[in-house]
Symmetry: C2
Subunit: 417 residues, 2 copies
């Protein structure tokens, strides 16, 4: 079936590069992009067109790191640092997800808010609870989202209410993986919480399981000084944090590592060599006082970097806020640390869209052959200037648009808002 969308197309085929097609056409065949064009080709002259008028048609967002069970506590507990924050706020909140009804209520609301804000792909942590994780996957799938979701593994340094034995962690992981076949566009990803949360035995088992089953892995890396020192104590044989994953086979193609605030040149090289995705979470890194990640440096070196809201260390689920936070953070990095070139709005848009969608095998920008992931932004309600060019309108949308300006959302070729 042919579907044609018309509007002001703005996409990011490469870092720092925007392509605008004012009043352009997106031609879909069964939800898959067949062509982008400035004029409607002859053969489609009689096809119906969904005309979005003067609205912007942008790429939808990929949120590549967030903790679903921390959604209820967004915007609380912001006055402490990472390790205290985990013990006092995050772990007690996550432990409530032993209750399936509570999980259903929270995850339904989370899925709705993601869609409302134009996020269509996620790479996400659940809690350690198998049943709640399946509920989360179900809610995301029902909302039309695409993603990777991980039941968390943690068999040490949790709380009495939030910890598994090694055996439980393995058994529950297998039970969870066996149940994931029911989902079509939400896939499992192995999720050791972070090195301090997993015994060596569990890490080794996860590495073997990833290899045997062809699963991707997500975790945290070099977020905070105290955390890094702790990992060094736990793994005195590892020169750097990443090696505590690598030695168990958890450092592989498409491994996702959140934060990398303090990753040095060696660790960044190891990421490039393995094709590890670094997820930059600017809000979270400031809220829990971790620091300013060297994003421009990583990009210049050729690292693969995308963005994450990291709720509830981060306080904004809306990826437009995360994009502008990344821009702001890069300005401070430049000013206070290393003089690196700040991210532009176009850079941020690329990191929040194309760079994350790539994890799912998508091409660059609105690429022919990809199922459509897009949002439609009606910026007339935030326009008091008139006559702005399209790159300024994109920038203004990133800074100013709320969910109400996002009037349509397409995911996997279907309209989900």
């Amino acid at each position: 079936m042919t579907t044609i969308l018309r509007g002001n197309l703005i996409h990011a085929p490469a870092l720092g590069q925007l392509e605008c097609l004012p009043g352009g056409y997106l031609i879909l065949e069964d939800g898959v992009i067949a062509a982008l064009c400035s004029r409607l080709p002859e053969q489609y002259q009689n096809s119906p067109v969904i005309d979005y008028g003067d609205a912007l048609i942008l790429q939808s967002f990929a949120d590549c790191h967030l903790h679903a069970p921390q959604y209820p506590m967004v915007g609380t507990g912001m006055d402490v640092t990472l390790l205290d924050w985990l013990q006092k706020y995050a772990f007690p909140t996550e432990s409530r997800f032993v209750d399936g009804a509570y999980a259903r209520q929270v995850y339904h609301a989370l899925a709705r808010e993601l869609v409302d804000n134009g996020t269509t792909r996620v790479i996400m942590f659940s809690s350690l609870h198998t049943d709640a994780t399946l509920i989360l996957m179900d809610e995301l799938e029902q909302a039309g989202l695409w993603g990777y979701v991980g039941k968390v593994n943690m068999d040490r340094n949790g709380t009495p209410q939030l910890q598994e034995t090694t055996e439980e962690s393995q058994r529950e992981t297998l039970r969870w993986l066996d149940a994931c076949g029911q989902f079509h566009h939400i896939k499992p990803i192995l999720t050791p919480r972070f090195t301090p949360s997993c015994t060596d035995a569990l890490m080794a088992w996860l590495g073997r399981t990833a290899a045997e089953r062809g699963l991707y892995i997500q975790s945290h890396l070099s977020e905070n000084d105290r955390e890094i020192a702790w990992v060094r104590e736990l793994h005195p044989d590892c020169q750097r944090y990443w090696e505590s994953y690598a030695k168990y086979g958890l450092w592989a193609d498409h491994t996702v590592m959140a934060h990398c605030v303090h990753s040095d040149a060696q660790e960044r090289l190891a990421m490039r060599e393995a094709n590890v995705l670094c997820v930059h979470c600017p809000d979270s890194n400031i809220n829990v006082r971790s620091g300013l990640a060297p994003v421009r440096t990583m990009l210049n070196e050729g690292n693969w970097v995308a963005l994450g809201s990291d709720i509830a260390g981060g306080d904004h689920l809306h990826m437009m806020d995360v994009i502008t936070a990344a821009v702001r953070t890069s300005k401070l990095r430049s000013l206070l640390i290393d003089g690196s070139e700040p991210l532009t709005a176009a850079d941020g848009y690329y990191l929040g869209t194309t760079a994350g969608h790539r994890y799912f095998g998508a091409g660059a920008g609105f690429a022919v052959g990809d199922a459509l992931h897009a949002i439609v932004v009606d910026d007339s309600g935030i326009d008091t200037m008139g006559n702005m060019n399209f790159t300024d309108r994109l920038e203004r949308a990133l800074y100013r648009a709320k969910s109400e300006q996002i009037v349509a959302v397409w995911a996997g070729g279907k309209q989900i808002k």
Copy 2:
């Protein structure tokens, strides 16, 4: 007339100090706070009560620095630094306010958005246009806001479209001041844009006019390194930026100085000695790459500090966003510069409310004898936790609440939303 509001009262009588009255009563006589109480006193048992149920009744916000004519460009031009930003974006945008119809449209929208977001008092820059300034004051007054508004003076270093002669600046300032008597709760404040924008003759005239007419003064101070160097070139006799105001009588009780990012101990002392209000604008200072102001240090030293959105250097008009930006900024200041104690959510709430309302003669928190400035926040729509204490609910509101959660706004004892 007696009016009684009931709800969960949370106010900030002092820095870092919250007072909560769950299910408390605010008793107003002709809009003025007569009492705060946990139980309704006997004499009011038969008075009607406006019952806000489980909602939070908070202090409204005071936005102590913003540029009204830059409202149309919020969220654009964020990829350049201060002086370029002024020439390329801010000045061309402001020059459009020669058109009264345009001014009416923009200022009407601005006033509405301020009210919607719970800001009830402002200290504001207009442009240099007398008529547009009067339109702005009219729109603010009609919306029920309270504030100080300044016609900008700038007789050098502007653009051909946005500059006055010294004589014009004086004549138009007098014409504007003469017309301000028509307003009841919007007052004039003298507004030399910043030292580089005003000749010595104009500065001297403004200082004399302030003294003769008993007017307050607002301007910018020590925002950006290049700006500071420029002021030093223009006034080689001044050791520090503030002296370029002081030597013309523009450094006085209730002078408002935005930014003070780079104010050293001497300049901070000069502020305390004169009772100058420093307005911290965290978003703006990062967006235009000025730096991180030493807010905790200023507070510890006893300086008077309030908050400003500083649109359009800042990109958030909603003061809750400015408050959380101030908290984040203070964390980075602590982490990267001086180890100072970060601001807490309670500190931020105080700076965005009590500290700014004080400029208008208000007492601390919900003070008996003050006309009510308050907002009512219905946080049920952002609640997926249940059973939270009131300080956590305040923090979550600051991070999460949008205008739709602000279900009522009171200003000067009257409900304006």
